[in-house]
Symmetry: C2
Amino acid sequence: MRMGKQTVVFENPPTIFETASTVGKKEGEGPLAKEFDVILEDDYYGESSWEKAESKMQEETAQLALSKAKLKESDVNFILAGDLLNQCVGAHYAMRDMNIPFLGLYGACSTMAESMMIGSMLISGGCADNALCVTSSHYCSAEKQYRYPLEYGGQRAPSAQWTVTGSGAAVLKKDGDGPYIKAVTTGKIIDMGINDVNNMGGAMAGAAADTLTALFRDTGTHPEDYDVIVTGDLATVGSDVLCELMDIDGYNIYPKHKDCGKMIFDIKGQDVHAGGSGCGCCGSVFCGHIFKELKRGNIKRMILMATGALMNPQLLFQGETIPSIAHALIIDTEKVM
Amino acid sequence: MRMGKQTVVFENPPTIFETASTVGKKEGEGPLAKEFDVILEDDYYGESSWEKAESKMQEETAQLALSKAKLKESDVNFILAGDLLNQCVGAHYAMRDMNIPFLGLYGACSTMAESMMIGSMLISGGCADNALCVTSSHYCSAEKQYRYPLEYGGQRAPSAQWTVTGSGAAVLKKDGDGPYIKAVTTGKIIDMGINDVNNMGGAMAGAAADTLTALFRDTGTHPEDYDVIVTGDLATVGSDVLCELMDIDGYNIYPKHKDCGKMIFDIKGQDVHAGGSGCGCCGSVFCGHIFKELKRGNIKRMILMATGALMNPQLLFQGETIPSIAHALIIDTEKVM
């Protein structure tokens, strides 16, 4: 184990052994449609509320990941999970029937990265042989909670993002053939002074730049060392801000940067304004598409960095700005750096 | 490192190096008053809202713990923090000015134990030299969010608990003279089918019994091996249920059991019905009183187990029951078991 200021580099990097993904109907009509395991036919998924539908989606995605990994519940050391709903009820109701030690996380849309980051530290430190990392978001439950009742039909700003209905689950294991989590960079909370709830990407870009700069500094690597640098859900506005901020810091990431919020939708054709957001955005795109790209050999070495906006509506009503965070992982198909 | 089904026993147990605690006015009039570092004079703490007061309390408690531990922000590897507010804004706004890698947790009232549990695993696994574990709750912000507007003056049920206004912060270090975190037992989510929001203690007792039984089973220890078994905030109703459930499982914990929710208030004299609750209950009682008892030698070997109820009001309105969790730590003033 080698530690930089914010980065832990693993001597025995854990493997991302299997993943599973589920998305909603709209996401299932987007450019990545064929990469997801399950596409929902409607937003209720047979439940009586959107919140219960989200929990069911998260539970079934977690179960699918275990089944693909040929693991029984009793084999799993830890679940690390969270979501956007108040008190993370998406995860809690999803996991209450699973007989597995549970660690609840809140990282907003950074949750997929946070869970894999803590999971990989527990495994590489000898505290676990495996971990199940899960997250979800749901357009309807999120809109209702963060913005307006859906029935109200509120007008959306051009910089606003569309919360992805989706869930991702990843099984990490101590031993395996990769892809490996080689290093993790834990973010600090960064507040750029932005208070526009319709510009989450802009608010999160500062945290993304801070963490990415820390990763390069701590590991002595550069953008050209990676096939791709994937952010969670900065969408169009935030992605532009991140690339510019990195440019000012002396890192040209323009040719390498991709964003899950831009990948999951046909931005113009699907009327999603700046693009996708939500824990389920990075969750489903990583566990659906990117994991397969690593397995297919199309990506060999990459950075996955998910970002989260850490406010709630009440604090914004009280005049507060939006603190944000970003967590990053270096993922590599080769075990040796 | 030795792993049981749910328990990790540390070969090099980390030290709880320093703690700090803050409580509200009412808690400062209770039986533990002289144990706390700071007692607030009023609920607003100079801020314009209860939420901002809670953040300020959490930030200042964290800073006080660092100052007592003689650590600069730049020396700290991780903050692990969370609270009860929607999207954990208590912690996020508290920690945004701290220049320290941040891991956000949600464990409801189990947060103090969850943060020290993950912190000790990161340290003993070689991923950190130290960690700052923090949590808080505030009576006014919690009542407003979970129950009724305070101005409404709602009647309280006899089994209802009183959310503690308080914060606890603990600095864990790799090397030190103890008290040591010798082992941690991670809880599973347990749902006893209780849907009475005025009986949180009862809802959480099942999770507490499940985790405590796992701890005894995994470590081969018994209640008589410990000076005291302290639960977070089961209060009077939940404590009785836990002791009875353990009795049925063959463990007599009656002579050893104490509960932070019963300790922090003069239950009858202060009109708090079943007793205290909230992340800040276990947080302030452990970081204020119990840590000092360990340092004074009055407690040599103990179990600290904090419990959390994982619902939100919306899911209860939708007819759901209350899933719960409990996380436990074995704390010992001697390094060798």
